[in-house]
């Protein structure tokens, strides 16, 4: 099959995770992985992002399928249920909101900048090695640490799911995937099916 430029977006995703170890400010680039899928679902009315352009999904396929790191077993029923998927989306958005609140706290000088990455919403890992003081306001760095925490956490969860279940098991509960599917469902609501 012919390869397209977008078949290599997994390189960008891997690079993103690596850059975060050198300079946390690169974490801001991750906003693209939030905005692009949403914009495509809102204006393109499709999940073309998941279907074609998601580098993270490709990375999981590469590790799980091409490199055979996945057990390739079915996921437990509960993890595939709508309740879990929507619940996880709600949880994820709540944690995202808390991260924004923390950034605002630093912006208002109510909180001090914490040069740490929080993994799995629990473990605070000192990340000062990727931080250099700049002329930029502290909240910009705070957001970068917060955002990178989210990206690294979801990658870790995705890798665990990839190993235990199907290579792309993360895509079942991925908040971006769930959200864009919901947007598409909203668009299609009331339209007649093609089936």
């Amino acid at each position: 099959m012919k390869k397209h430029f977008y078949d290599y977006l997994w390189i960008a995703s891997a690079l993103y995770l690596i850059l975060g170890f050198f300079n946390i400010l690169f974490a801001w680039l991750g906003l693209l992985c939030f905005m692009i899928p949403l914009l495509i679902s809102i204006f393109g009315k499709s999940k073309a992002y998941c279907n074609r352009y998601c580098g993270r999904g490709q990375l999981f396929s590469l590790l799980g399928q091409t490199l055979h790191l996945s057990r390739n077993k079915p996921m437990p029923r509960f993890l595939k249920s709508r309740i879990f998927r929507y619940g996880f989306l709600a949880f994820f958005m709540t944690m995202f909101g808390l991260m924004i609140a923390q950034t605002v706290g630093v912006f208002l000088n109510a909180d001090s900048l914490k040069t740490a990455v929080t993994l799995l919403w629990t473990f605070r890992v000192p990340w000062t090695f990727a931080y250099t003081e700049t002329a930029l306001p502290a909240w910009i760095s705070q957001f970068a640490f917060g955002f990178y925490s989210i990206m690294l956490t979801s990658t870790i969860l995705g890798i665990v799911l990839m190993v235990l279940y199907k290579p792309r098991a993360w895509c079942v509960c991925c908040p971006m995937g769930t959200m864009t599917q919901l947007v598409c469902k909203g668009h299609a609501h009331g339209k007649t099916e093609q089936n």
Partner: protein, 63 residues
């Protein structure tokens, strides 16, 4: 022998599109970002079913 064809469970499909890349015949596509749809080209090889992370595809014999 009865013809075999993939059938998608729409309530569990997450529209990730893994099945579309797995299918050599382009017999399965994601419809409007909501769920996957199988066309008549499907030969029931089950490649899509084995890759589907949501286990939303079954291969059934159709009459």
């Amino acid at each position: 022998m009865a013809k075999r064809k993939a059938v998608v469970d729409k309530t569990h499909c997450v529209a990730c599109g893994c099945c579309t890349s797995a299918c050599k015949l382009q017999a399965i596509t994601v419809f409007r970002g909501i769920y996957a749809q199988v066309s008549d080209r499907c030969v029931g090889c089950a490649k899509c079913a084995s890759i589907c992370p949501a286990d939303a595809i079954r291969v059934e014999s159709s009459t």
